[in-house]
Symmetry: D5
Subunit: 93 residues, 10 copies
């Protein structure tokens, strides 16, 4: 089941830079992990912004929520979730 | 080069139903054609709405514009275009 | 799997009143049918508006989309879909 | 009398983490208490966000206000309140 | 129980002027009737707009909905409903 | 001359709690004082929010401005002011 | 008493062009009349838009409402009204 | 050449009160100076808000920019600039 | 003097297609004419939309207004005008 | 390939003034450098705001992203990116 997820990161000004750098590194590892599980098939950077466009492939809303809230940067994100399904004119997918 | 394109269709009330049905059928054929050319790798339906989430893979803004304006339903669409590029944490793409 | 679905109806001014009345009656029957299937556990009227707050319980985004687009009033609706999951402080559900 | 209440929590950056954790625990107990009183029949988590969708069943606006402002997290919330009533096509409720 | 209700009228361009004039006259009578019942204690015109600010005093959301939808101009209105309760600094009310 | 005034309070996180409590107490006294002068005939609490709906009865814009800016909580408020006048269907007022 | 009034005209597509031209001419005469009364001291065109920025000088909200609703183009306008008063740093006015 | 300029001041919470008071005093002097030069013919206070409505009369965009950015409060302002020109129905100006 | 002007065209559904085609052709000729006068140095198409991004170089707001309102498509456009001036980091211009 | 890029700077209140001044100076040098490379053909200041209107000429979304994120002020900016292409009525470009 596919979801379009758009995440905008608002870097926290109350954290020390190296603390935030550490969190970002953890974020990268966690993101790679979820992608390897096949749950996060698409992850693109929005040109000119500290935000991404993602597509998640999960079995339930709960699973999607657990994955997103497990991201170290989650507390600093504005997240929008758009459920998607097959388009009648789609060639494949 | 990737673009997130979101298209919302506002069915025209001033057209006869069969005329609009004809345009929709042309739209489907044109969409399949562009997908076969590899220019439109992803096309999903937004759950509960007459709109789609698409990803286009083109060589220039001009090419994207020409493809979008070639769609028979283009005059009845609200279109948003978001340029994207590689995300540093993306596993592949 | 639960979704909050909010539907606002914009009555079409280009349809004859009795034609729209017929569609509304079909809508009521279809809504009752889906509720009997257990897919639409909650349907409330928003006070002072021609819109509703609903909760759907479905197995996939696709199923939700098919149910919503099967509603006779769908072409005259603005629909927002919010995926939900269990709240850690919820007593039951 | 039913109200749709949507609460978005903006975690305070000026509070110490353990202080905020304490408040969150109090919040959970208070939420369970109100639910046991039958005043808060539905509480769901919005997928991907630190916010909830709730339905309150109260006898007056005043009662709803007193319940909401009694929540320990109230000072850190954006709350929207939508009065609801019976929908003519609702099977039960 | 008090509600702030704000109503903006969008005059229908598809109705004949005298037909709309007739509806407006019915609206006035119905509004006076509800006010005489004590359910609509305040009705003010917003300066410079075809809209009003009202306060309704009702026993339930359902009653408010029935009153509002009974207004002949209801189909041509954008309505916002804000539940209110006693303010701790209010002298009376 | 009547004005609808809606005030949303954003509690300042940079003030000590007892300092803000002191200001709130001053606010209450000032609000009662203005109401006794007959300038602030209606003051209601918006259910579920730290904001109010008020009606002021003043002789000029200047008087309204002076009254509002005299409120101790004014620096922490988002204020919207809507001029109103007699509605042709109003029973009294 | 001063009010900033911003008027955006949405030309009606359901009226014959010469009918709308007649209304526009009436509008011009009425506008000149109000200005001669000293009630409409400033009237400017917004560059690039079919809208104006005006300042009205009236004795009450009611007077402003009567003046605005007397404008032949009023039914085709979006109007915003902002009450103003003396600025402490204003040299004159 | 006329511009409608609307300035909303967001008092900085990170500055000491007397420091901000000093800046406000400088602002007043600078505003009076620009008005004396005839560049700032109108300056009104928006009722109930810490913001103003102004009309500037300048020879170029650059001149307007230089004047606005010379205001001591500029760093704490949200500014909107609307170019204006003569209205065909304006009596004078 | 430079202005960023963004024009979105909303094709009129109440005009016959060939009538609108005629207006579009007139629009093209007028646009070329203004560009040859050096008043419209930049005109770009927004990818995926029936709208443009333009830069006008004029001597006054009035001149800009006269140029824009002289465009045959003006009645069917949403126009936004942003005055611009030299940027301190600009290499040339 | 052209992009309209609009950058609004929100000066950070948590940085020391001289630290921010240093970053601004680095920003200027970097901006001049990119302009000399021909990648940033237009850079204008928006009148009355700490923001700019720019046109970038790049070969890909990736290149645009790398250029923008290389700007020292990038962390303090709200950036909007609009892909553009040739307009059918453009004289040159």
């Amino acid at each position: 089941m596919l979801f379009l997820v758009q995440m905008k990161v608002n870097p926290p000004t109350h954290l020390a830079p190296d603390e935030f750098a550490r969190i970002k590194e953890e974020e990268k590892q966690r993101a790679l992990e979820i992608q390897r599980q096949g749950k996060w098939p698409h992850l693109w950077r929005v040109t000119g912004k500290y935000s991404n466009v993602s597509v998640f492939d999960v079995d339930s809303n709960q699973e999607l929520h657990d994955l997103l809230t497990s991201l170290p940067l989650f507390p600093f994100m504005e997240v929008s979730v758009t459920p998607m399904n097959t388009h009648p004119s789609a060639l494949s997918e």
